[in-house]
Assembly symmetry: C2
Homo-oligomer: 196 residues x 2
């Protein structure tokens, strides 16, 4: 059987996270059975979407504009910066419609085991944002070992600058993932933040 195109599709899909060899093959069979027009739409959405997305030069969240919607919204410049690991964590916090300040996306967390040190994250860029207009940095990294270590590291750097540093409460279950936390829990976690 000449399944080469199907195998090539399955191979590409299996590179994506959470898609195993079997699912990739099933998806590949589905894709070649789809109307050509639908596959064209799928493929061009992936490619055009990827091309459209860039980093906001201020907070390093994803955006399709010069600056992201939060940074370019004057009403969000309320003196608070919420520090997250990934863009999708910022998206999770936005979904609860409760937080009205700014973000800063680190692009990861400190992980000596994986060779990720402070210079690999956007920590210098965060420090450069901490002018007189900022009075609180809320650290919303995940409540896991790396997230906590990163939070402690940032607190040590920022508190000497006379800026309040807070940590979201451990309403987020330990070992859980910020992205999959429901809005109410997230809201509680933000509300219960404490001095570091």
């Amino acid at each position: 059987m000449s399944n080469d195109a199907i195998s090539r599709i399955a191979l590409e899909l299996s590179r994506l996270p959470g898609i195993g060899r079997k699912s990739a093959q099933r998806l590949a069979y589905h894709i070649v059975s789809m109307p050509e027009e639908d596959v064209r739409t799928l493929a061009s959405t992936l490619w055009n979407g990827r091309k459209a997305v860039r980093f906001c030069p201020v907070c390093f969240n994803y955006t399709e504009e010069e600056q992201c919607a939060v940074c370019s919204d004057e009403t969000r410049h309320n003196g608070q910066i919420c520090v997250v690991r990934e863009p999708r964590d910022a998206a999770a916090i936005e979904r609860m419609h409760d937080y009205r300040g700014l973000y800063h996306v680190l692009g990861g967390t400190l992980s000596p085991m994986n060779g990720i040190g402070p210079d690999d994250l956007r920590i210098r860029e965060l420090l450069q944002r901490l002018d007189d207009s900022i009075n609180e940095v809320i650290i919303a990294t995940n409540p896991d070992i790396e997230g906590e270590a990163t939070a402690a590291y940032l607190a040590r750097l920022i508190k000497p600058l006379g800026i309040r540093v807070t940590r979201i409460a451990h309403g987020v279950p330990i070992g859980g993932d910020l992205e999959y936390t429901d809005e109410v829990t997230l809201s509680k976690a933000l509300e219960g933040r404490r001095e570091m």
Copy 2:
């Protein structure tokens, strides 16, 4: 947050079978974080793969050639045609490297509930293939209600032509556990018992 490209990607991915809203969003965030070159490869593999695949005009399996590799292989014309529901069922049988005959892909199974009748499947095309060179039709539709009904329907059509019609055996899967086998399968296994 201007996540439109990400939402568009997530929406397209969530149309695929087995990918829910959350997984689609997670995949979309992953895709916009991938190097542009890798997304270009993924998108073009999907689109070029889909364009390359057509139906074999003889057996209706997927192929990228005029005829599929099985139909165009003279050594496979051994008088047997194995009837399956989908191309991926033929692929499963090919993977065992044991079957040396031809295939016929129905493109579905009879399902009055879903309005799928004989004219919606490639049954007429199967009958047209049943010349003097064919001496056995092996029906390998799934052992579910629709697969059994389709098998019975085909047997009624083909047996009067003087061609042997067989059905793949149903029973306890190798490596399976008798205790955890459902009653219907056990019943089929007992019914299909053979001399040792």
